[in-house]
C-alpha cells in the first residue's frame, strides 16, 4: 500500500486509531457470512469530523470506503472489497447523544449497540422497537444500513419505520442531514437499507415507543411443520397481528434446548412462539382466538408463560437459536427469503424438498408472521460436496421463493452474496432506477462498491468470496 494514505490517516485520527498490521486487519475482513480480502486500513473515528476527514483522504487516494458496524451482517456487506478499501469502524462512536423523552425520540451514534439503546431509555419507560436477533451485538448504524427486521417487526415495522432523520457524510466528505418531515424528496427512505452504498451514517434520530403495559408469551407445539405454518397463515388471515409470531422446527428446538434449556417441547416437529404486547384487557380475547385457530390446525399443546422468568426464557431461546445451531454444527448457512404469508406452507415444503434433494440437514427458525423464512443449512465446510450442496440448496430456496411471489431478501440484505440474484427479481429498468439514485450519492462507486448490484452492471467484476 502507499505509505501516503496511512500517514495521512494517522495524522487525522492518531496512530492508535489506524490499523494496518495484517493480524489487525484480518479481524475486520469478514462478517457473519463471508471473508473478504485484507483491507488497506481499518480506521476508528471518534466523531463526524474525523469520518469526514477519512473520506476526503480516501478520495484523494482513490480508496473505496466500507462502513462497518459489528460485522454481524449475513451477506458480506461489511467486508473489504477487491480493491482493498478503508474500513470505517464505529466502535468509538457508540453513544446515545440525546434522549428527547417528551417527543419519544433519541439521537444516537451509529456504533451504539441496538439492545443498549433500549436499555438506556428504559428509565423513561421507552424502548426502540426494531429487534434483530443479533441485537446484543449489532449496531444501529448497521441496522439502518440493512433496514434490519426482527421478531417485533410484525407489528412495529422494520427499521425504516423508526428512523426520523440521519446525519450523513457524503462521497466528498461533506456532511448533510435528512429529516422525514423535511419538504422535498424522502432522502431518508433512500438511505435506509442502502447497505452503505449511498453514504456513511454518522448519527441518527430514531423513534422510541412506550414500554407496553402487559406482555404475554405463548407456545404452541405441532406434530408437523405444515400445520404450524398453516396456523400462522390462518392467524394472519383472521386479522390477528400479535407483536411477534415466530416459528422453529425440531432441529432448532433441540439445539436450543441443548444450549439454553428454554423450555421448548423437544418431541414436537414445530413450535410457534407468539408474543403479544399491549394491555391486559385484550390479552385473554387474543389468546382465545389464536388458541382456537391453533387447535383447529391440530396443535398438540398450547402453553401460556406464567411468569416473567418463563417468558424471558422462551424469548431468549428464540434470540439464541442461530447461535445454538453453531454449537451443534461445524458450519451453517442462513438463507433469508420472504414469501406472501399464505404461501408459507408451500415455501416450507420447497425448503424441505431442496434440502432432502441435496442430502443436507436444514433447521427452520424464522419470522413466520411476516412470511420471512430463514432456513439454516448445516454443513461442514471442509467437505467440498457439502459446500456445493449448500450452494445448490440455497439457490433452490431462492427460486422457490421467487416462484411463490416472494423476494430474495427479507432483512439480511444483498451485499456480495445475492447481488447476482438481483436480476431474478428486477428488470433492467428497475435496477436502472436504483442506479440513478446511486449516481447522485456515489457517482464514483467508492461507497461499498461491489455490493448490492449485479457484477455485470457498472460495478467492478468480482466473484463472490467463499
Amino acid at each position: 500500500m502507499s505509505a501516503g494514505v496511512e500517514d495521512r490517516l494517522r495524522g487525522a485520527l492518531g496512530a492508535e486509531n489506524v490499523k494496518t498490521a495484517p493480524e489487525d486487519l484480518s479481524v475486520y475482513s469478514f462478517d457473519a457470512y463471508s471473508e473478504g480480502k485484507l483491507p488497506t486500513a481499518v480506521v476508528i473515528p471518534c466523531d463526524t469530523r474525523q469520518v469526514s476527514a477519512i473520506v476526503k483522504i480516501a478520495r484523494e487516494f482513490e480508496e473505496p470506503i466500507i462502513a462497518r458496524g459489528a460485522g454481524t451482517g449475513l451477506c458480506g456487506g461489511a467486508v473489504s472489497v477487491e480493491g482493498g478499501g478503508i474500513i470505517v469502524s464505529f466502535a468509538r462512536m457508540h453513544r446515545l447523544l440525546e434522549l428527547d423523552a417528551a417527543n419519544r425520540r433519541a439521537h444516537v451514534q451509529p456504533g451504539l449497540v441496538n439492545l443498549q439503546l433500549s436499555t438506556h431509555v428504559a428509565g423513561a419507560k421507552l424502548f426502540y422497537a426494531p429487534d434483530p436477533a443479533s441485537q446484543r451485538s449489532s449496531t444501529i448504524g448497521g441496522n439502518i444500513a440493512t433496514n434490519a427486521g426482527g421478531p417485533h417487526c410484525l407489528s412495529y415495522g422494520t427499521t425504516v419505520n423508526h428512523v426520523l432523520g440521519l446525519e450523513i457524510v457524503d462521497e466528498r466528505g461533506d456532511v448533510f442531514t435528512t429529516d422525514v418531515d423535511d419538504a422535498g424528496y424522502d432522502v431518508t427512505a433512500a438511505l435506509v437499507g442502502s447497505e452503505g452504498t449511498l453514504g456513511i451514517v454518522t448519527s441518527a434520530w430514531v423513534r422510541l415507543l412506550r414500554l407496553p403495559e402487559a406482555t404475554r408469551v405463548w407456545l404452541a407445539a405441532f406434530s408437523d411443520i405444515e400445520s404450524a405454518s398453516e396456523t400462522v397463515s390462518a392467524i394472519i388471515g383472521a386479522g390477528i397481528l400479535p407483536t411477534a409470531l415466530e416459528m422453529m422446527d425440531s432441529v432448532i428446538v433441540s439445539a436450543v434446548e441443548q444450549a439454553f434449556h428454554a423450555g421448548y417441547p423437544t418431541d414436537a416437529a414445530a413450535v410457534l412462539l407468539i408474543e403479544n404486547a399491549g394491555f391486559e384487557d385484550e390479552m385473554d380475547g387474543c389468546e382465545a382466538a389464536m388458541q382456537t385457530i391453533a387447535t383447529q390446525h391440530g396443535a398438540l399443546s398450547w402453553r401460556s408463560a406464567r411468569t416473567q422468568a418463563e417468558r424471558d426464557a422462551l424469548l431468549a431461546g428464540r434470540k439464541g437459536a442461530v447461535g445454538a445451531i453453531g454449537r451443534i454444527a461445524p458450519n451453517y448457512y442462513t438463507q433469508d427469503v420472504t414469501v406472501p404469508r399464505s404461501a408459507l406452507p408451500k415455501a416450507l415444503r420447497a425448503v424441505e424438498a431442496a434440502a432432502r434433494e441435496n442430502d443436507l440437514v436444514v433447521g427452520n427458525v424464522f419470522h413466520a408472521g411476516d412470511g420471512n423464512l430463514h432456513p439454516l443449512l448445516v454443513y461442514d465446510k471442509r467437505d467440498r460436496r457439502q459446500v456445493g450442496a449448500v450452494l445448490a440448496t440455497g439457490d433452490a430456496i431462492l427460486r422457490a421463493a421467487i416462484d411463490l411471489g416472494g423476494t430474495i431478501s427479507g432483512e439480511h440484505g444483498i451485499g456480495y452474496e445475492k447481488r447476482d440474484a438481483m436480476t431474478r427479481v428486477y428488470g433492467t429498468e428497475d435496477l436502472a432506477a436504483m442506479a440513478r439514485v446511486r449516481d447522485v450519492f456515489d457517482p464514483q462507486r467508492t461507497r461499498n462498491p461491489e455490493k448490492i448490484f449485479p457484477s455485470g452492471t457498472r460495478c467492478i467484476e468480482l466473484s463472490v468470496p467463499a
Binding site: G184, F279, A433
Partner: protein
C-alpha cells in the same frame, strides 16, 4: 386558482402513458400530472403551458390477497373504491386523505399526504411494499413486491412517496393492509382556554393511545357539533371491544381532571365525523384562504398552534387551527371575506409564519398569490442532492416543472 391548462390527456393504459410521456420528453412538451385534484392547493400551480395528464383511467385493484393482508392497486383508483373493497374483508388502509371519493392512491402518495393516525399505524410510505412508476422518458420501473419485508436493493417505493409527480407517475402501489379495529368511538368536547394545556398533556399521556386527538379552533362550518367559542377537542378511539371500555373510562377521567366540561360521545357516526375533519384540512373559503401544515414536535404543539393562530389574527385575518396532539403538526388556515389588501396580507403572513416555524408548507388555497408564497417552506439541508435527484430522473424537467420545492 389553477390556470386553465390548454390540453388534457387521460391515457387508458400504462403503455399509452409510457408512449405519451416518452413523446413529451422527446419533444420538450411539459407535463402536469393530476389525480383527483383534491390536493390541488399543494405546491406551485402549473403555469398553464403544460399538457395535463390525468391518471383517472388507470384504476382498479390489481391483486388482493385478504389472507396475506396485501393489496396491489392502480394509481388512479380512488381511496374510497379501495377502502370499500378492503372493508368487505374487515381490513383497511389508514391513508387518511381528504375527499376519498375523488382522491387517488397515486396522488395521495405523490403529495406525501400525512394523516392524523400515522403515529399509530405508520405513514403511508411505511404501508407501501411495492410500486410501479412510469419515468419521464416513458420507461417503467418496478420496486418492491407483494411481501411485507423486502430489502432487495434500495427502497425506491418509499423514496417516490412525496416526490409530487416530479420523478415519475405512480401507476401502481402495493400495500400491506391492516385488520380493522374491533370498535371505534369518537368524542367531541368544548375546550375552554383554561383547560387546554392540561387537557392536551393528558391526551398525550394516555396509556391507551387514541388513534386521533385534535384540538380544533374555528372550522365551525366544516366540523359540526358544539362549536365552543374557544375551541374543541376531537378524539377517536379504535380498539378491540375489550379495550374500548377502559380507553373510554381513561379518556373521560383524563379530560375531566383537566376541567373539560361535558364530553359528547359519538358511536355510530364516529367515522363520518373523522372524515369531515379530514376534509376540513383542505377546505377553502372560496379563493380567499390559504392553509398551512406546520411540522413541529408534540411538546411544542400548543405554543406553536397559538403562535401561528395569533400571527394570522394579527393581520386581521380569520384563523382556523387543527392541532394534532399525537403527531405534533399544526394546520392553520387564514381567510377573510373581504378581499381588499388580501394578497399583500397573505404575503406578509407567509413570512411571519415561517418565522414561527420554517417547516410550514401550504396544503390548500386557490388564492392567486400562492405562487408568491413559500409553499414548501424553507429549503431542507439536502436540497442540493434533491436537485441532483431530479436531474437524474427527469433530466429535461418534463414532469411537473417548477411545482415542487425550490423550483424543482
Amino acid at each position: 386558482m389553477t390556470p386553465q391548462t390548454a390540453e388534457r390527456a387521460a391515457p387508458k393504459s400504462v403503455e399509452e402513458l409510457c408512449a405519451l410521456l416518452a413523446r413529451c420528453d422527446r419533444e420538450g412538451t411539459r407535463v402536469a400530472v393530476c389525480g383527483g385534484e383534491t390536493l390541488r392547493g399543494m405546491g406551485f400551480p402549473p403555469t398553464g403551458n403544460e399538457l395535463l395528464v390525468q391518471t383517472a383511467a388507470l384504476k382498479g385493484i390489481v391483486a388482493y390477497g385478504p389472507a396475506d393482508l396485501t393489496v396491489a392497486v392502480r394509481g388512479g383508483t380512488t381511496l374510497k373504491t379501495l377502502a370499500s373493497r378492503l372493508k368487505r374483508e374487515r381490513q383497511f388502509l389508514p391513508l387518511d386523505a381528504p375527499k376519498p371519493g375523488h382522491a387517488t392512491v397515486g396522488g395521495t402518495l405523490a403529495a406525501g399526504w400525512l394523516g392524523p393516525r400515522r403515529h399509530r399505524y405508520g405513514r403511508p410510505r411505511d404501508l407501501l411494499i411495492g410500486s410501479t412508476i412510469v419515468l419521464a422518458d416513458g420507461t417503467v420501473a418496478r420496486a418492491g413486491g407483494m411481501v411485507v419485508k423486502n430489502v432487495a436493493g434500495y427502497d425506491m417505493s418509499r423514496f417516490y412517496v412525496g416526490s409530487f409527480g416530479t420523478l415519475g407517475v405512480l401507476v401502481q402501489a402495493n400495500f400491506k393492509t391492516l385488520p380493522m379495529p374491533g370498535a371505534a368511538r369518537a368524542f367531541l368536547a368544548p375546550l375552554p382556554e383554561g383547560t387546554r394545556t392540561r387537557a392536551l398533556a393528558q391526551l398525550r399521556a394516555l396509556a391507551v393511545e387514541p388513534s386521533v386527538a385534535l384540538w380544533i379552533d374555528g372550522f365551525e362550518k366544516e366540523i359540526s357539533g358544539d362549536a365552543g367559542a374557544e375551541g374543541r377537542v376531537f378524539v377517536l378511539l379504535e380498539h378491540t371491544e375489550a379495550l374500548l371500555e377502559r380507553a373510554t373510562r381513561d379518556l373521560r377521567s383524563a379530560l375531566g381532571r383537566a376541567g373539560v366540561p361535558e364530553t359528547q360521545i359519538v358511536d355510530a357516526r364516529a367515522r363520518d365525523m373523522f372524515d369531515a375533519i379530514l376534509d376540513a384540512y383542505v377546505s377553502t373559503v372560496a379563493d380567499r384562504s390559504i392553509t398551512y401544515r406546520i411540522a413541529t414536535m408534540p411538546d411544542r404543539l400548543e405554543s406553536c398552534a397559538i403562535e401561528a393562530r395569533d400571527v394570522v389574527r394579527r393581520f386581521a385575518l380569520d384563523a382556523g387551527v387543527i392541532a394534532d396532539v399525537m403527531n405534533g403538526d399544526v394546520i392553520v388556515r387564514a381567510s377573510r371575506s373581504d378581499t381588499r389588501d388580501l394578497s399583500l396580507k397573505l404575503q406578509v403572513l407567509d413570512d411571519a409564519l415561517h418565522q414561527v416555524e420554517p417547516r410550514a408548507r401550504v396544503i390548500a388555497g386557490d388564492h392567486p398569490v400562492r405562487p408568491a408564497l413559500r409553499v414548501w417552506g424553507a429549503d431542507p439541508p439536502a436540497i442540493e442532492r434533491m436537485r441532483a435527484l431530479k436531474s437524474a430522473f427527469d433530466p429535461h424537467a418534463t414532469l411537473n416543472p417548477g411545482r415542487f420545492i425550490s423550483g424543482i
